[in-house]
């Protein structure tokens, strides 16, 4: 039976590669997802002001609509969507005032029953990395991969409960190993790329992106993987900008983890949306 799936706005435009490769890789592993019939933007960021309920309404409605499907779960892959949906669900479950305000406004009964899952968790818990290991080809053998989690997947630890250590998650590295590639550890994996400051304080984002890229390259990484369309954009697009000003700059492809997994699972390359990347990953993947 198909698991309800919330793609998120960006996956319908800028990050179709993440949407396509998520569906294709999960399907290749026997997991079917079904997009929610009607959905809106989740809100992207969790409101940190105690009295801001309106910023949680959209996420609450999405969780409620998912709870009306039979499965009980909701899959979402974008780190922003995952973060805000999980935090709103946590608030509904654990804070009576939030629950009352949101359910009364939406005129629905809901107490946080939907279980939000990330495809990384599906791969780890439902498929299993041992099983996955048996299904992959050896196309990624020898490729060094830096796993970049960014800020949204694992923080705050108590609410996200994403991996054992929120400062040092390892699920993506375990996935990389199961895909037959080589995981490199780098200290910037849960730092922030500058996020939405790209709209306002562009120079800050360039500085953070450069730190992250250089940190990964210093460990020998040939490719960086992420699950966040904004991290992907910042890390990828800004390389073009850096290269325009610094001809000695070595570019490094930034992929969604599902795109790399697709290569390992022999998913046809046209289903992986690699053409939207600014730094072309094909030389590396076909090399």
């Amino acid at each position: 039976m198909a698991i309800p799936y919330f793609p998120g706005c960006t996956l319908k435009t800028k990050a179709t590669g993440l949407d396509d490769s998520t569906r294709a890789t999960l399907a290749a592993l026997g997991l079917e997802v079904a997009e929610l019939p009607e959905w809106t933007c989740c809100g992207t960021v969790y409101p940190l002001a105690q009295d801001n309920y309106m910023g949680k309404v959209a996420a609450a409605r999405i969780l409620i609509n998912a709870s009306k499907e039979d499965d009980g779960r909701l899959v979402t892959v974008c780190s922003f969507c995952y973060n805000v949906l999980k935090r709103v669900n946590h608030a509904i479950k654990n804070d009576e005032e939030t629950r009352t305000k949101l359910t009364q406004f939406l005129e629905e009964e809901y107490a946080g029953e939907t279980k939000l899952v990330h495809p990384l968790e599906l791969l780890r818990d439902d498929v299993g990395f041992d099983t996955l290991q048996k299904k992959v080809n050896n196309k990624l053998k020898g490729i060094k991969v830096a796993s970049y989690y960014g800020c949204m997947l694992s923080r705050p630890a108590a609410e996200m409960q994403f991996d054992e250590e929120s400062e040092n998650p390892t699920v993506m590295e375990d996935l990389v190993s199961a895909m037959g590639a080589e995981a490199v550890d780098f200290k910037y994996k849960t730092t922030c790329c500058g996020s939405y400051q790209v709209m306002k304080t562009y120079d800050l984002v360039v500085k953070k992106v450069r730190e992250i890229l250089e940190g990964a390259k210093a460990k020998g990484a040939q490719v960086i993987i992420t699950s966040c369309p904004l991290c992907q954009f910042n890390l990828d697009w800004i390389q073009e900008k850096i290269a325009e000003e610094d001809s000695s700059f070595d570019k490094i492809p930034v992929l969604y983890f599902t795109q790399l997994l697709g290569v390992a699972l022999d998913v046809p390359v046209e289903k992986l949306g690699l053409e939207k990347n600014y730094v072309d990953p094909k030389p590396l993947l076909q090399g």
């Binding site: 002001a49 730092t191 304080t201």
Partner: protein, 126 residues
């Protein structure tokens, strides 16, 4: 600008107590935005402890990316990101915004993923 009793307003909106801060500076050392900040997060906390309302006008509060690294590492358990958000929110509720839609260059507007617009507007626009 809400200046009278602004510290209690910040405490109320953030549900955090800045007086718990022991000024260790772990937040500043962890902060994504410090490269663009005048007052570092530790100093923002200090200004709040002292009840200095000029903190409301500090550009630093708008450099925060709500990455929660400070929150995760604060040894006193203060959710510093919530404090920074409260400082923005009291500004935004007065119409003081830093991300002005009409001023966004068209190239950026049409190139960025729309999640950057939505999140930027939610955190930085009134």
């Amino acid at each position: 600008m809400v200046k009278d009793g602004f510290t209690s307003k910040i405490k109320e909106i953030s549900e955090q107590n800045p007086n718990l801060c022991m000024q260790c500076g772990t937040c500043s050392a962890s902060c994504t935005g410090i490269g663009a900040m005048e007052e570092l997060p530790r100093q923002v906390m200090r200004l709040l402890q002292l009840g200095k309302d000029k903190v409301l006008e500090s550009p630093s509060i708008w450099m925060c990316t709500t990455c929660l690294t400070c929150t995760a590492r604060c040894p006193r358990g203060i959710d510093i990101a919530r404090v920074m958000e409260a400082l923005r929110v009291v500004n935004l509720r007065q119409g003081n915004e830093v991300l002005v839609l009409e001023d966004i260059p068209l190239e950026l507007l049409t190139e960025v993923p729309q999640m950057a617009l939505t999140s930027g507007f939610r955190k930085l626009s009134a």
